[in-house]
Structure formats: structure tokens, C-alpha cells
């Protein structure tokens, strides 16, 4: 009840001071405060704790972690596979979103619901299902267990919904009239797609790509069964982190986690820059 009253209050004050943008109203000050407090408790403080633990041994801790060839191989594998899967999602996710929004076919509603399954399924269940379907006893005759491809497969599965779900609403909001006008002015289908549709989808695609990449580099449960955790071949970073924790080496675990945070941050910023560039050109 109190929040509703506050909400009305905010709007009343807001209406009374039109044009004022930088000075926060009491209502929005409260909102900002609550948001920051919540974000700090859930995200900023734990992140700070990880970085602080990692910093216990100074730069030396990071160097030691990166010098371990097994860890280095895991980082290369994880980042490489995550990037590959994200690229794959950019194409397949956009395609699926397109099909779901633009095409009318039998079972569309069902497909629309099922897209979220990879989100909802406990990752260890995903791992078991993937191992059953694409392991040594595969009914489809496809066995990728303990191979690099198993990592690609598991990551592709768990990150599938991200780009579909970010692109879908944007595509649905796109005005079909503009495309029709372009067509009637003689623009070819491909030109319309390239000049009209894709530029407006870029922010959604990059946002989905960032989510997809971030999820992929931290994945554990879904690939732990099918990948076999083979050093240098299929062992991902999160398994290395858990090894450090099991070995009682919290500092190395935190250092490796911090490195992965930096990688994620770098990729998210890069995606944002790409998106701004494309948006400016469009």
C-alpha cells in the first residue's frame, strides 16, 4: 500500500516541476536509493569481495594462475567456445525470432513457449539429457561426449533463448508499413533486410549476445557430464575454479574468477561500442 501512495506522490511532484531533469524528486531519490542498495547487496559487495580476495597475493596471484598451462588452456577453451556459440546465436537466435514473429505456422505457439526451456531446466538435468542424446548411447547416432564439440553443444543449448527473447519484441514492434513502402519504391528484399530491418535489430542482438556470452563463460552444470572435464581438451574455467576451491586455494579461485569478470566486462563493452557504431550509421 505504501508504495502505491509513494508512486502517486512521485507523479504529482514530477508534474509540478516540468522540465527539471537532473534534480531528483523525493520519490525518485528513494527509488534510486532502494535500487542502489539492492544492487549493492546482491552484486557490488560480492564482486568487491571476490576482487579483494583475489588481490591478497597482489599481481603475483594472477600471474601464478595464468602461468598454469592447464588453467590457460581452460581460459582459451571457455572464451573461444563462448565466442563461437555467441556468433552462432546471433545467426540462429535472430532467425528463430524472425520465424516466430513473421511466420504463421502450425505449432508456432508451442515453439514460442518451448524456447524458454533451456532457461528453466536445472543445468545438471540438461547435462544428463544431452549426454543421453549425444553421448555413447545416442539414439541419433551422434556421439560428442568428451569431445570439444560437447562444450559447443552444451553452451549452445543453455544460451539459445537469449537472442531470441531480446530480438523477438523489437521485431514485433517494427512497422511493416515502412518495409512495404520500401518494397513499393522498388527496394529488393535483401536491401530492405539490410538497410531497414537489421539496423533496428542491432541493439537487441548485441544485448542478447552480451547475455549469451556472459552466461556461456560461467557455465558449469550442463557441460560437466558430457564434456568429461579433460585437461587441455574439454575442461572449462568454472571447473578449474571449483578445483581451486576444493584444493583450499581461495585466492587462486578468486583470481581466476576476477580474470573471467574482466573478460566478460571487456566483451560487453565491445558489444556496446559495436552497437553504437552501427546505430549511428543506420
Amino acid at each position: 500500500m505504501s508504495s502505491a501512495v509513494l508512486g502517486q506522490d512521485t507523479r504529482a511532484v514530477g508534474r509540478g516541476r516540468p522540465g527539471v531533469r537532473l534534480n531528483l524528486t523525493p520519490g525518485s531519490t528513494l527509488g534510486l536509493g532502494v535500487a542502489m542498495l539492492w544492487f549493492s547487496l546482491l552484486v557490488l559487495i560480492p564482486l568487491a569481495a571476490i576482487v579483494a580476495t583475489a588481490g591478497k597475493d597482489g599481481v603475483h596471484g594472477y600471474v601464478e594462475v595464468l602461468e598454469n598451462p592447464q588453467t590457460w588452456a581452460a581460459i582459451k577453451l571457455t572464451v573461444g567456445q563462448s565466442a563461437l556459440v555467441t556468433l552462432l546465436n546471433v545467426v540462429m537466435g535472430t532467425l528463430i525470432a524472425w520465424v516466430l514473429v513473421r511466420d504463421r505456422f502450425w505449432g508456432r505457439g508451442l515453439l514460442d513457449v518451448l524456447i524458454d526451456i533451456p532457461f528453466a531446466m536445472p543445468t545438471i538435468v540438461t547435462g544428463l539429457v544431452l549426454l543421453g542424446l549425444y553421448g555413447p548411447q545416442s539414439p541419433l547416432g551422434v556421439n560428442v561426449a568428451n569431445q570439444r564439440a560437447s562444450v559447443t553443444l552444451a553452451l549452445a543449448f543453455v544460451t539459445l533463448p537469449f537472442i531470441v527473447r531480446t530480438v523477438q519484441p523489437v521485431l514485433a514492434e517494427l512497422d511493416a508499413d515502412v518495409e512495404e513502402a520500401a518494397a513499393s519504391l522498388g527496394a529488393r528484399r535483401l536491401t530492405i533486410l539490410r538497410r531497414l530491418v537489421l539496423p533496428s535489430l542491432v541493439p537487441a542482438i548485441t544485448a542478447g549476445a552480451a547475455l549469451s556470452f556472459a552466461r556461456a563463460i560461467s557455465e558449469y552444470g550442463s557441460l560437466v557430464l558430457i564434456s568429461g572435464n579433460l585437461p587441455y581438451k574439454t575442461q572449462v574455467v568454472s571447473v578449474r575454479v571449483s578445483s581451486f576451491i576444493e584444493g583450499g586455494d581461495q585466492t587462486s579461485a578468486a583470481a581466476l574468477a576476477t580474470i573471467m569478470l574482466a573478460v566478460a566486462l571487456f566483451v560487453i563493452v565491445m558489444l556496446d561500442i559495436i552497437q553504437r557504431r552501427v546505430a549511428r550509421r543506420g
Binding site: L128, L131, Q137, V224, G228, N229, L230, I245
Partner: protein
């Protein structure tokens, strides 16, 4: 509004009634008490009959239990991190030692008739039904055609048992580290998967991965009892797995009674039926899932133990040290399948 009131009333009733009932329950018991148990994963099913039988005794009447099960190392860290518990029953001693270091368990915890151990098992080979490869002993694991699955000791404390057993075999013949190292290196050359935990390794094997799995005898028996289509082989020389138990410093009286029951013939018989070797003499039960249910736990001719063979866990753990450990080095030099 009346509708809303009814919902509130129902909600209130739903909250209050069980609370009242719970209150009655705890006050009516003759020796009411609470025991919270923190154990490693496999105990989840093994503890059920033990607790049920304890509650049938006079000491256990009315005692309520709260239980938490998970990977041994995770459980140990959870207790150190503040998970309240009366009893910890873990896969390997170092996980209890860490709790002792945190000051939650008395350092004399292992000065008991069973040296602090509650359940035993052996490192065994789980093979496909009918043992098509004819695996009998450790040396068979280095043959070509063997596809070995064993949990990774880097992420699974329990997996240390498996590789220490292999090391002991390698060393056993002539003694000295080079033989142990040579054998483990050769054996791991046949590894096709190193899952992160013993339970994941079993799941992976059951899904068709590999043809030999290094596992605990207790896990193999439990899986067979549950209907999984596998066989297991106890080699003539293998390592005794010993799972420690300890009470925390402020353990309840009920917890002390429970531990006494766990170590009694009746308690050990319950664990034996679930696949664990008893830590005391004089327990004979039929064990469903065992190779020979009426003689489930034949003595191992050459029995390695952590204390006798390796000189204790401090020395055994050194094999897994990330930068200097001999087994850790083998694992980090392992380029399985190129």
C-alpha cells in the same frame, strides 16, 4: 472483502495449526531432542534406515532430525561457513580436519575405538555387465581397449581414494615412488573422462561413457541394488576407504546417542545393507546388490590403508598439491586423446 478475509483466515490457520501441532509433538516426546546431520552425498539413502531404527530405540524415541547432504568438501566448507550441525559424516578425513582447524570440532575427535571412522568401503572397478573385457586387477586397466572413467581429484576430494589406490598398487610391487608414478601415468593414459565428482562419474558411466569406472564399492552396490546394469570387481590389492564421523563441540545429547547407535551392531548392519563395510566386527547381513549378497564383504588379500601405506592423510594429500603433488602433476601433464 469477505472473500479476502477468508483467505487471510485460512492462511493464518495454515501457519498456526502446524506450529501448534509441532509444539505438541516436541513436548510430548519422552526424550525429545534434535540432531542435525551433515553428510556426504551417498549417505542420503544410507542414513534413512539408520535414523528410522534409531528412533525405534529408547534413546532415539521422539528425536527429530535435520539432514544436509552434498559433496564432502562442500559440506565441510559449509560447516566452517556457519551451517549449524551436531554431527559431520564426511568422505575423507582432511574434510573433518579442516573443521577441527576452524575450532568447531575437538581435536581429539578421532580418539575412539574406530579411530573416528563410521563407515568403510573399498576402491573397486565398475565394469559393463558380464565384465566383457575380463578385468581382474589393476594391471588390466593399462591394457589397450580400456576406456577409463574416474572422477577428477582436483575437483572431487572423494576421487583421491581412487588414484591413491592405483598409486599404492604401482608402488606395492617393488616400493618407491617411481613405480607408483609410472603406473598411474600409464593408467590415466586410458582415461576418457574425468568427471567432477564420484556421482557424476557414475552417471557418465551409466550413460555409456567408458568401459571401466573407478568407484567405491558402496556406490557400486547401491547402483546394482537400484537396478543399474553393471558389475563390479574387487581387485586383490586395493585401498580401504574410511569415512570419518565427528560430533561438533556443542553437539546435543541426542546426537551423542545417535552416534552410539550408528556405531552399534544394529547401526552398522543398516550401513552394511546399503553397501558400506562395517567398522566393527560381528555384523553379518545380506546385502542386495553385492556380488555375493550372503558374503558381501570378503576380506581384500592385500589391503592398503592411508595410515599404513601412505603414512596418514598429510602425506597422502601431498600427492594432490597443485604445484608439487605427484598425481596433480600427472593430471596436469595429461593430454587425453590429444
Amino acid at each position: 472483502m469477505t472473500h479476502r478475509h477468508r483467505i487471510i483466515a485460512l492462511t493464518a490457520a495454515a501457519v498456526v495449526v502446524p506450529a501448534v501441532l509441532a509444539g505438541c509433538g516436541s513436548s510430548s516426546g519422552s526424550s525429545s531432542g534434535k540432531v542435525s546431520v551433515v553428510g556426504f552425498s551417498v549417505l542420503k539413502t544410507a542414513n534413512t534406515p539408520v535414523i528410522a531404527d534409531f528412533q525405534k530405540t529408547s534413546a532415539g524415541k521422539g528425536v527429530t532430525f535435520s539432514q544436509s547432504y552434498g559433496a564432502s568438501g562442500d559440506q565441510s566448507r559449509a560447516v566452517i561457513g556457519g551451517l549449524p550441525t551436531d554431527e559431520v559424516h564426511l568422505s575423507l578425513q582432511p574434510d573433518v580436519d579442516n573443521i577441527v582447524k576452524a575450532g568447531l570440532v575437538d581435536s581429539t575427535w578421532d580418539q575412539t575405538p574406530t579411530k573416528g571412522m563410521l563407515t568403510d568401503s573399498e576402491v573397486v572397478f565398475v565394469v559393463r555387465k558380464g565384465n566383457p573385457l575380463g578385468i581382474r586387477g589393476w594391471d588390466d586397466l593399462t591394457k589397450s581397449g580400456v576406456k577409463l572413467v574416474t572422477p577428477n581429484p582436483a575437483s572431487s576430494g572423494g576421487a583421491k581414494w581412487d588414484l591413491l589406490a592405483a598409486w599404492a598398487h604401482g608402488e606395492g610391487t617393488s616400493g618407491g615412488d617411481p613405480q607408483g608414478q609410472a603406473f598411474v601415468t600409464k593408467m590415466l593414459g586410458n582415461a576418457v573422462a574425468l568427471p567432477d565428482s564420484a556421482s557424476d562419474a557414475l552417471a557418465s558411466f551409466l550413460a555409456g561413457n567408458g568401459n571401466v569406472l573407478l568407484a567405491y564399492e558402496s556406490d557400486a552396490i547401491a547402483a546394482r541394488a537400484a537396478g543399474d546394469d553393471i558389475d563390479y570387481v574387487v581387485p586383490d590389492d586395493t585401498l580401504l576407504i574410511q569415512n570419518p564421523v565427528a560430533l561438533t563441540k556443542d553437539a546435543s545429547t541426542a546426537a551423542k546417542d545417535f552416534l552410539k547407535f550408528q556405531l552399534s551392531t544394529a547401526g552398522q548392519a543398516d550401513y552394511a545393507r546399503s553397501g558400506f563395510r562395517p567398522v566393527i566386527e560381528g555384523t553379518s547381513v545380506d546385502v542386495p546388490g553385492a556380488n555375493d549378497p550372503s558374503n558381501a564383504y570378503p576380506a581384500v588379500p592385500t589391503q592398503y590403508t592411508i595410515d599404513k601405506t601412505f603414512g596418514g592423510w598429510d602425506k597422502a594429500n601431498a600427492y594432490f598439491d597443485d604445484s608439487t603433488g605427484a598425481i596433480a602433476k600427472i593430471l596436469s601433464g595429461l593430454h587425453v586423446g590429444g
